[in-house]
Structure formats: C-alpha cells, structure tokens
C-alpha cells in the first residue's frame, strides 16, 4: 500500500536528518520526499510517499509524532488530495523524430523547455501516474536524463494541514 504523509516541522537545521534517520532506522521505505518552507517561515512541510502495510503506517505516524520538532503528521486520504511532482526529461531527438516528440508533448501537455540538434528537454508537472505515462511514451526515443522532485500534495476542498 502506498500512502502520502504531510508533516509540518519546525524549520531548524537537522530536522530533516532526524526524520530521514527515523525511516532508515526502523526499516521503513521512502518512495519520495519533498521539503519546503510553508507560509510561516518558522515551519517547513515535509511530504513523504512511502510503502507499507497498515501496521507500518501506524507505527510510522506514531514515531514521527515523537520527534520533538515535528508539529503535525497527517496521512492524506486516498482520492481526497491533489499531488504533483515536477520532472525534467532530456530525450534523444534527431531532426527526423522531432515532430513526433513535439506531438507527444502536446498530447500530454508537457512543455518543451530546451532543444539541441540531437535532443529536446521537456518539463512536466503532474501526478506520479501521469509522469509515468509520459516517461513510458518517451522511452522508445531514448531518454538521456531524468531529473524529478519528490511528490508534494494538498487536500482537496476546504481542509488544510495547518497548525
């Protein structure tokens, strides 16, 4: 089971290492991790996507709550949040393939942000599933490099993970 945790922490040096250390120490696997400051400069948000069964998630939430600079931990409910990750993909692209790749980018609503005689670079900001689709579609052309951020997520509707 994959789950997404939205964690508010005090914006201090060393907090991220406390959290990532806890994952490795207790044998929890992280699929992705993203950190950024919130509207309050004293508070950062860590979004973690991880895998595990119900026991693991529950333990993880409890252990995270024990970390003193952790202010709040919320498990986002499947289907009730919007998630995004940002990806930059450099694809092998001789002139003969350029129009095909541009077409693919158009279908997927990805943006072409750079090009060279033998490559193009696409920028894409979407949920993980759509990111995967784009990668699958571009793979036959030859992917030179992928750079992607961790997933960030926000509740749908009026609810918010705030202090």
């Amino acid at each position: 089971m994959q789950y997404t945790l939205s964690i508010l922490v005090e914006n201090h040096a060393g907090v991220l290492s406390k959290i990532s250390g806890l994952f490795s120490r207790r044998g929890f696997n992280i699929d992705s991790l993203a950190v950024g400051v919130t509207g309050d400069p004293n508070v950062s948000r860590i979004t973690i996507v991880a895998n595990g069964d119900e026991y693991v998630v529950e333990q993880l939430e409890k252990q995270l709550n024990k970390v003193i600079p952790v202010i709040k931990v919320k498990r986002l409910t499947e289907g009730e949040f919007i998630s995004r990750e940002l990806i930059l993909i450099k694809v092998h692209c001789p002139a003969s393939k350029r129009s095909e790749i541009v077409k693919t980018a158009e279908i997927m609503q990805a943006k072409i942000v750079d090009a060279s005689p033998s490559s193009v670079t696409l920028e894409y900001c979407e949920c993980s599933a759509r990111v995967k689709t784009l990668i699958d579609m571009l793979r036959p052309y030859g992917i030179r490099e992928i750079v992607r951020t961790g997933t960030i997520a926000i509740d749908r509707g009026n609810t918010a993970v705030s202090i």
């Binding site: 005090e10 290492s17 026991y55 333990q59 409890k62 709550n65 024990k66 003193i68 202010i71 709040k72």
Partner: protein, 540 residues
C-alpha cells in the same frame, strides 16, 4: 555581563541539580571553571560512559533527571553507550558535552565529533547551541523534555566559544513552549470505561507491570489496585519492585529468563493488563501470539508503544498515575474469581525450586534470596548484566527498596557506576551491587570513584571465570563450543580491592558469604566480596 559557562551552571542550579557526574576536557573547560565556584557536587568518574550510568542510577533513585558532562570528541562518544542505556530504560538524563569552537565545526579539527548526529537514535531530543543567549531556553526545554512524557535522555552540545561568550544578563524561563511536544498524560475516559468493563467481565486476569509504573511514581496506588481486585501481578525486568517480592499476588518476572508461574499465568489469562511496559522479545518471546487467546489492555504514556509489539484491544495513552486513579475510582467491587486465585496460588507453590548446592562453592541464587533479609528494608540492589542479573531478578526479595538493572539495553558494566549514582541519591540506604567477574571488569575502574568519595557501596562479585550467560547460550545453541567465553588472565580481585584501599573478603560457601555480608553491611565503608560460584550454575 555573564558568560555562557556561568549561565550553564546557573541553569543547573535553577533546576535544583545538586550533583553532576563527568569527566573534563579542553572544550568543556569554561564550564568546569565556573562549576568550581558552585555548590553543585561534581563526581569525577574514570570513563565517560560511567558518568551516564551514574547519572542514570542517580535519577532512578532520586526521581530527578540525572546530569552527566563530558568533553567533545572521544569524551562525547564514550557517553553514547550510557545514553543509549538510559534511552532503552526510559531514564531521564541531561547530557552536556563540550564541542569545538563553532567557527571550526565541520572541519574535522582535534577532538571534533558530530555527537548530536551520532546520538540521534538514542536520545529523546538533542541540541547544538549556536548562540549563548539560547542557553537558558535550551536548558529549560532539555530538563522538561527529559522528565515529562515518556522519560529519556536529552543531549546538549555546546561549542567552546558559546560557553565563553558573554551576554547582558541571565534570566531562567518559567515555562517552556515547544509547539511539537505536548505529551498526553490524562487517559481517555471512554477507553478507561472499556477497560473497566473488560476487567469486570474477566475470569482470569493478570497485570503485567513494567518500568513505567516505577517511573510515574505510582507504586502505592498500583499495589492498592491489585489488592482491591486481587488480580495477580507479573513484572518485566524493569518492573521488578512494583510490589514486594513476597506479596501474595506477585508472581515474579516473566519471559525467557523469568518464573514459570509468571509465564504460565500469562499464557492462561483471558485478560492481560499491560502497565507501562513495551514487552520486548525477552519479556514475551512471541508477542504476536500473546493476544490470540486473550484481551489486552495496554496502558502507556507513549502512544507508539501501544500495538507495537503486542496486538491491543483496549489502548489507554496516559500517565500511569492518572490512569490508575481512574481505574481505582471506577472498578467498583470487582474481585477476581476465587478459582483463578487458587489456581495461581497452587502454581506458585508447585513451581518453586530449590537450587542444588555444590560443595566448596557459593550457590548464587540462594545467596541472593537470603540477601534481602540481611539488609535494611529500603535497600537498593543493583544488578549487572548476565547470569548475575537473572539470579537477582528472580531471587532478590525486594521489600520497600529498589532493584536497578538495565533491562532494555542490557549493558554490561552498568552496576558499579549506577550504584555510585544510587548511593549519592540515597546516602542513608544500603546499596549493594551484584555483578559477575566479566561485568565487574567492565567498570572496575570506578572503584576509584567509590574510594575517592568514600561511598559505602557493597560489591558482591559472583566469580565463575566465565561469561556465564553467553556460555550457556553456546551450550544450548552452538554445540558446547565455548568460543571466547572463558575469562583467562583475570586479576586477583582481592588484590584489586586492596590496591584501591577497599575492604574485601572471599567466600566459598553460602554460610561463609552470609557471615561476611552481615558484617559488611554494618560498616560505612565500601566492601568487595568475591563469591566463588560453581562454573556450570545455570541462570534459572
């Protein structure tokens, strides 16, 4: 103007600290210089690990956080085992380490070690102080965090320049405001109600008490609850002492090395009330099976403990003190069915074993069983780790005193330094160490601390020339191949005692040992008794 070092001392004074355990070095010198002018007593240990153990023993006997101090680099890294031991046993400690100047941090200079990083898995929280003005807040928070919620060690790492810098004035904060730290102590009323209903319905209930009962200071209330209801009590190793060993409802320690009656009662129970225990693998070997045939109520201050090792039907998060009060108020006239009481009583008698005597040797289990009667009722027994720990856990008849050992981490060498802390916390009580010849040699350097402070600690060494517990494991699981478990080259412990100016004697029978013990407890000086134990004496 006031320096960081002076502020550190004033913070300790403001927290009511009267004794600290430590070992100086260059980067903690500014603090030591100011400590020199203070009324706080400093106990110079002979290795930093023992400063942490001593602070732990002090804390467990004084119910205040223990304080230990070390310098940067190796001083700090030596503390780690002691800090990890306190963490595993939920003992409140404040560990203070010196650190290289803040402008040199990260450059791998002389005696620099990332101690906050290294201790991360073993501390409740840690600080590296970057501004002298933060010191009062950091100390206030450290003591608060260490001694509230699930107790544990907190580390404060202070670069030398932060100790030297001066600020305008010192004020110690009255309160703390840590946004992410609000332990829930109250106990959920609905869960307590469910617990009461489950207890009232139960036919064969048992209580499993852990160290949490002692840490929350609820011993009398706890005992009252057991007495009111007649529910038999089993303890984990850390829970030993929650009630007198001879109490009719007390069945002893559970687990791999525990009493048969305790394990049997746990196995047959239809309701298990777990109080402040984490139920590690030594307590319950197959915890996932435990709740198959019974209902589990788990009371703990730490929500992460509930459901971690044992499946729990009724979780109650809260301080044992509050929860126990709520249970007593609402349990009504419930009494355990007579049949269960009788069954347990019969088992208690049936499973009683008298250890065989080997001519020319001291029988350690019998000696420990007789020890309590030779001590005053509030005696503190400090057991080390290994066979000696199991002999003590199962046989010492605790009355109103304490049983100290490290049940969580199982750190050899704990007993002597912990006894130093215990004796300083409770100078008028008998403090007796029982250790093996292996564990004695892990901290015998602390005999200097004992001699230097004239602490009347009585040390009983059970000498079998072996690492007895590992050897037992080798006999059982490794085809009797005794790899590295025979202690060769041991010194004459009596001559060691002599060298430290400590009174000493040797015993080769229980009669001899008991005669010596009766004499040694009368003296106000330290004493070392070496008991020669038959090498194949088992743990249980």
């Amino acid at each position: 103007m006031i320096s960081g070092a002076e502020i550190m001392v004033k913070c300790l004074e403001a927290e009511g600290v009267t004794v600290v355990f430590g070992y100086p070095g260059a980067t903690i010198c500014p603090f030591y210089d100011k400590l020199y002018d203070s009324d706080i007593e400093h106990v110079l240990v002979r290795q930093e690990q023992n400063a942490a153990h001593a602070a732990s023993g002090y804390s467990r006997c004084s119910n205040k956080p223990g304080v230990c101090v070390a310098t940067s680099g190796p001083g700090a890294t030596n503390l780690i085992t002691g800090i990890a031991t306190a963490y595993a046993d939920s003992v409140p400690l404040v560990a203070i380490t010196g650190q290289v100047r803040s402008d040199l941090l990260g450059r791998d200079v002389f005696q620099e070690a990332d101690i906050t990083g290294a201790c991360e898995p073993f501390v409740k929280h840690s600080y590296i102080v970057k501004d002298t003005a933060d010191l009062p807040r950091v100390f206030k928070e450290a003591f608060h965090i260490a001694s509230t919620g699930r107790k544990g060690p907190v580390l404060i790492d202070i670069p030398m320049d932060i100790q030297e810098n001066e600020i305008e004035s010192f004020t110690y904060p009255d309160s703390v405001n840590i946004i992410g730290y609000k332990p829930n102590t109250k106990g959920h009323a609905i869960q307590v109600k469910r617990a009461v209903e489950a207890i009232r319905k139960s036919r064969r209930p048992v209580i499993v008490s852990g160290g949490g009962v002692l840490l929350s200071g609820v011993k009398p209330k706890f005992q009252a609850f057991a007495d009111m209801t007649g529910i038999p009590v089993i303890s984990t190793m850390m829970g030993i002492g929650v009630m007198p060993s001879e109490h009719e409802l007390y069945l002893g320690m559970l687990g791999t090395h525990g009493k048969t009656v305790a394990n049997r009662a746990l196995h047959d129970a239809d309701l298990v009330i777990v109080c402040g225990a984490r139920l590690g693998d030594r307590a319950v070997a197959a915890p996932h099976q435990m709740s198959e045939n019974n209902t589990v109520i788990h009371i703990d201050i730490d929500p992460a403990e509930i459901g971690k090792n044992v499946k729990t039907e009724i979780p109650i998060v809260g301080d044992m003190k509050n929860v126990m009060n709520m249970l007593i108020d609402s349990i009504g006239d419930y009494k355990v069915p007579v049949q269960w009481q009788e069954t347990v009583k019969t088992w208690k008698k049936d499973f009683l074993r008298v250890p065989p005597v080997f001519e020319g040797y001291v029988e350690p289990r019998t000696l420990v069983a007789h020890l309590s009667a030779m001590l005053r009722s509030k005696a503190i027994l400090v057991a080390d780790v290994g066979q000696n720990q199991i002999w003590c856990a199962n046989n010492f008849r605790i009355r109103e005193g304490r049983f100290l050992t490290t049940g969580g981490m199982g750190t050899m060498g704990y007993s002597i330094p912990a006894a130093v802390g215990a004796k300083l916390a409770r100078p008028t009580r008998d403090v007796v160490v029982v250790c093996g010849d292996g564990s004695f040699q892990m901290s015998m350097n602390e005999l200097a601390t004992i001699a230097g402070h004239s602490l009347a600690i009585k040390i009983i060494i059970m000498r079998n020339h072996r690492l007895g517990m590992v050897r037992e494991l080798q006999d059982k699981n490794y085809d009797c191949r005794h790899s590295a478990t025979i202690l060769e080259g041991d010194p004459d412990f009596l001559k060691i005692a002599e060298a430290y100016g400590i009174d000493h004697a040797e015993a080769n029978s229980n009669a001899e040992a008991e005669e010596i013990i009766k004499g040694m407890v009368k003296s106000d000086k330290p004493f070392i008794l070496v008991c020669n134990v038959y090498p194949d004496t088992p743990s249980i």
